[in-house]
Amino acid sequence: MLSRLAEHVYWMARYLERAENTARLISTGTHLALDQPHAVRIDWRALIEVLGGPEAAAHCDPNLTPERAAMVQLIPASEHPSSIHAAIARVRENARTVRDLLPDELRERINQLYFHTHRGAGTAVERAHRFDYLRGVIEYAQGISGVIEGTLSRGPTYQFLMLGRHLERADMTTRTIDVRAATLPRDEDDHPPTWDDAVWMNMLRYLGGYSQFRQQRGPGIQGPAVVDFLLRDDRFPRSVRFCTQRMERALEELPHPEAPCRLLAAAERRATAPVEVPLDAGALHRRLDALQVDLSQVHDSLGETYFSDG
C-alpha cells in the first residue's frame, strides 16, 4: 500500500469521526437548551473551545447570541476547520483520492453525506432545521461505519481507518472532559463548588455514554466516577483506554509498528492511572493536556513510520 494512500485513508477516518462528534455535541447541546432552559445554561463558548480551541472561540461574532454564533462557526463555515461542512468536504476529497481502495457502496454513501451537509448547512443554523440536519450527519456517518465493518477486508486500509477513527475519538474525549474540568473549583477557591451532577450527566450525554454509565456504575453521578469511566473504562467505545487498545490492535496488523506502539503504550499508561478523589482541577487539566500531547506524538509517529518518507 502506498504511503500517500494510507495517509489519505487515515485522514478520511479522522475527519469523518470529527464531523460525527461535532454533530453529536451540537445536537445534545441543543436538546439540553430546549429541555431545561432554566436549570442548565448551555455553555456554547465551551463547546466551541472543545471543537476548535480558544482561537475558534475568539472568532465568534459578538453581535449574535452565543448559540447562534457557535452554530455559524460549527456547521456551515467551510473556512473554519472544525465545522461539519469543512470536515465532510475533506472526507470526500480523501475518499476520491483513494477510490480504488474503498468498496463502491462506501463511496456512494460518502457522496450522499457530502450532498446532505452541502444542501442543509445554510439552514441548520436555525433550530427548526438543525435536528434533521444533525441527525442526517450522524446517520450517514454511522452508515459509513457500518459498511466499513460489514464489507471491508481487514487489510491495511481497514487498519488505517481504525487508527484515524480512534485517535480522533480519544482526542475528542479528552477535550470534552477538559472543558468541564476547567470549571471545577480550584484549590485556592474557598467558595463551595457550583458544580453538580447535572453537568456531569450532560457531559455523558454529549459523549453518548449516559445510559451505559448508569448500567455499569449504578445510581448517583459524581465527577470522579465519570472521569474514571471516560478515561479508563475498557468497554465503552469512547473511553480513551478503549480507543488506545483499539489502535494497538490495528498496529499489530501493520508492518514495523514498534515506534507508534511504544508511544501508544505511554498514552495508555497515562489514561489508565487512577483518578484522584476529589477531583483537582489543576491536576486533571495537566493530565488531560499531557494525554493530548501523547496522542499527538502517536500521530506524528504514524506519519514518520507510514506516511511521509516511506
Binding site: 502506498l2 504511503s3 500517500r4 477510490r99 480504488d100 491495511p156 508492518p255 518518507d309 516511506g310
Partner: protein, 488 residues
C-alpha cells in the same frame, strides 16, 4: 413502429451502416433487422437506461471550463458502429506496419539518423520538431519500441476511402471508454449481440500489462509495474484509475516515487521503499523530471531520466517518442514505410501537401480557399486555417506565415467524414464519425479490436470531441459469413 432513418437519402455522404440504396451493409444486417423489430419508444427507453447505467457506474470525463474541472457523465449513443471484419483485417495490418515504421524512425532519429542522411526526411523537419529530446540520443530500447501505446485516428471520406488522420504517440487516451462502452452495451442492450459474430475486445488490459512487463529490466524477477498519473485533477484521471484497476497495478503520483543512490526507482509504501521496474506514464515529457525538463514541475520524479538512461527502469511511452508525433513527420509516413520496411503502405494518409517543398507550397498558396492548413507542432486543432470558411484577409495572413516558415506547415483537402446512424431521442439521423484504435508495441504487437468511435454533436457538425458535446459509440468488428457479399 420501427425507428425512422432520416436524412440518409443522399449520395453526398458515405454511411458506415447503410448503402446508398438504404439497405444495410453486410456486417450491419443483423443489427439492422433488430432495429427494424423495435419501436422508437423502446430505443428511447434504452437510451435512458444507458445514461442511468453510466451515471451509476461513475464513468466520467473531465471538462475544464471557467477555471474549474467539471466531471461529466460519459456520452454513449445506443446505436453501435459496425466494421466488417474483412476490412478490419486490412486496417489492423496497416496499423502494425505503420507503428513498426514509426518506431524504427524514432530510434533512428536518436541514433544514426540514416533517414536524414539518405535524403528521405528533410533535416528541417527534425530541427523544428518541438518534441526532440537530446537526452535520448544514443539510446537503443528493448525491441526497438519507443511508442509502446499509440492511438491512431482514422476517418473515412465520402468516397469510402479510409485515411489515417494522425498518430498519437505521446499519452493517447480513450481506451477505457472503448472498454466501458462495450460493457454498458452488453448490459443494457444484450439482444443484438446474440449470434451477431461480434469480436470481443476485453483482452486489452491483459495485453497492455503483458506489454509493460516485457519491458522490465532483465534483473527483475517479479516486475513491479505502476501507472504514473498527474493526479485527480487531470482530465483523463478516470482512465488512469480504470486501467490501473483493470491491470491490478499501483496508481502512483510523482511524489510517491523517488530515485535512490543506486539509480533505481522506488515507491514509498507503508512497508518501506519498493523498487519499481516499469512506469506506464500518463504525464507529458515536460513534466517527467524536474532535473532535466521543466524545473517547476511538481508532477514528475527528480532523477527519473537518470534512472531510465541507466536501464534501471522502463518508461512507456519512452521519453522522446513524441518526436514522431507531429504533422510534418506524419506527412512522410508513406515514404518511411517504404524506406524502413521496403513495403507499400497498407493504410492511406490523407493527401498532404508539404509547404517545405517549393512545388507543393506553390499549389497550397494557389488553393488556400479549398484546403485545411495545419502547423506541424500543434495538436488539437490549434493554429489551423480552414480555407473554405476563412475570409480573404485571414487567408493572406496565413500565406505570409507559410512563406516565413514553410517547414512548419502542411495542407490537406477538406474531408467529408463518413456518418453513422445516431439516435437523437426521436429518430435516427446521420452523424459524422471517426475511429481511434490503439496499438501496443513491445515484445509483441497488438491492435485493439475496433477502437473508440466518436460521433459529432449535431447533424452537420464535424466536431467529434466529447468536451464539445460529441458522443461516442460501441464499435463492433463483425465477422460476415462468406455467402453475404457486399450488396447481396
Amino acid at each position: 413502429m420501427a425507428p425512422r432513418f432520416q436524412g440518409f437519402d443522399t449520395d453526398q455522404r458515405y454511411d458506415e451502416l447503410l448503402q446508398p440504396d438504404g439497405r444495410p451493409r453486410p456486417a450491419a444486417r443483423l443489427l439492422f433487422e433488430y432495429l427494424s423489430s423495435i419501436c422508437e419508444d423502446d430505443l428511447a427507453e434504452r437510451m435512458r437506461a444507458v445514461d442511468a447505467f453510466i451515471r451509476d457506474k461513475g464513468v466520467t470525463f473531465t471538462v475544464y471550463s471557467d477555471g474549474e474541472n467539471i466531471d461529466r457523465a460519459w456520452p454513449l449513443d445506443v446505436i453501435p458502429r459496425v466494421v466488417d471484419a474483412r476490412e478490419w483485417g486490412r486496417i489492423e495490418a496497416g496499423l502494425k506496419q505503420r507503428l513498426t515504421a514509426l518506431n524504427r524512425l524514432i530510434e533512428d532519429l536518436y541514433n544514426e539518423q540514416a533517414v536524414i542522411r539518405d535524403g528521405i526526411l528533410p533535416r528541417e523537419i527534425l530541427e523544428q520538431s518541438r518534441n526532440f529530446r537530446p537526452q535520448c540520443q544514443g539510446l537503443k530500447l528493448p525491441y526497438g519500441a519507443w511508442a509502446h501505446i499509440c492511438g491512431t485516428d482514422l476517418v473515412r471520406d465520402r468516397d469510402g476511402t479510409l485515411y489515417v488522420l494522425e498518430d498519437n504517440l505521446r499519452v493517447p487516451s480513450g481506451v477505457s471508454y472503448m472498454l466501458e462502452n462495450r460493457e454498458v452495451m452488453k448490459q443494457v442492450f444484450p439482444e443484438p449481440f446474440e449470434g451477431s459474430g461480434i469480436r470481443p475486445l476485453d483482452h486489452y488490459p491483459g495485453q497492455l500489462l503483458d506489454a509493460l512487463i516485457s519491458l522490465a529490466p532483465a534483473d527483475a524477477d517479479n516486475p513491479e509495474v505502476v501507472l504514473l498519473t498527474p493526479g485527480v485533477y487531470n482530465a483523463a484521471y478516470f482512465e488512469h484509475t480504470y486501467l490501473a484497476q483493470q491491470m491490478g497495478i499501483e496508481l502512483v503520483e510523482g511524489r510517491d516515487l523517488f530515485v535512490g543512490e543506486d539509480d533505481c526507482v522506488y515507491m514509498r509504501t507503508i512497508y518501506g521503499p519498493v523498487r519499481v521496474h516499469v512506469i506506464y506514464r500518463r504525464i507529458d515529457d515536460d513534466f517527467l523530471d524536474p532535473e532535466v525538463f521543466r524545473p517547476d514541475s511538481a508532477l514528475g520524479v527528480r532523477g527519473l531520466m537518470r534512472a531510465w538512461r541507466a536501464g534501471r527502469v522502463a518508461i512507456a511511452n519512452a521519453p522522446g517518442a513524441g518526436v514522431a508525433d507531429n504533422k510534418a513527420v506524419y506527412s512522410f509516413v508513406p515514404e518511411l514505410i517504404r524506406y524502413y520496411l521496403d513495403e507499400a503502405p497498407l493504410l492511406a494518409n490523407v493527401p498532404t501537401w508539404r509547404c517545405l517543398f517549393e512545388d507543393e507550397r506553390a499549389y497550397v498558396l494557389d488553393h488556400l480557399d479549398e484546403l485545411v492548413v495545419k502547423p506541424a507542432n500543434e495538436s488539437g486543432g490549434y493554429g489551423m486555417l480552414i480555407g473554405p470558411h476563412a475570409d480573404p484577409a485571414t487567408r493572406s495572413a496565413f500565406a505570409e506565415q507559410i512563406c516565413r516558415d514553410p517547414a512548419n506547415f502542411i495542407a490537406q483537402p477538406t474531408l467529408s467524414l463518413s456518418t453513422v446512424p445516431t439516435f437523437n431521442g426521436e429518430h435516427l439521423e446521420p452523424r459524422h464519425v471517426d475511429l481511434r484504435p490503439f496499438v501496443l508495441q513491445a515484445a509483441r504487437q497488438h491492435v485493439t479490436t475496433g477502437g473508440l468511435s466518436r460521433v459529432s454533436n449535431a447533424r452537420d457538425s464535424l466536431v467529434v470531441n466529447s468536451s464539445q458535446g460529441g458522443s461516442s459509440k460501441d464499435t463492433w468488428v463483425v465477422d460476415v459469413r462468406s455467402d453475404e457479399q457486399e450488396g447481396g
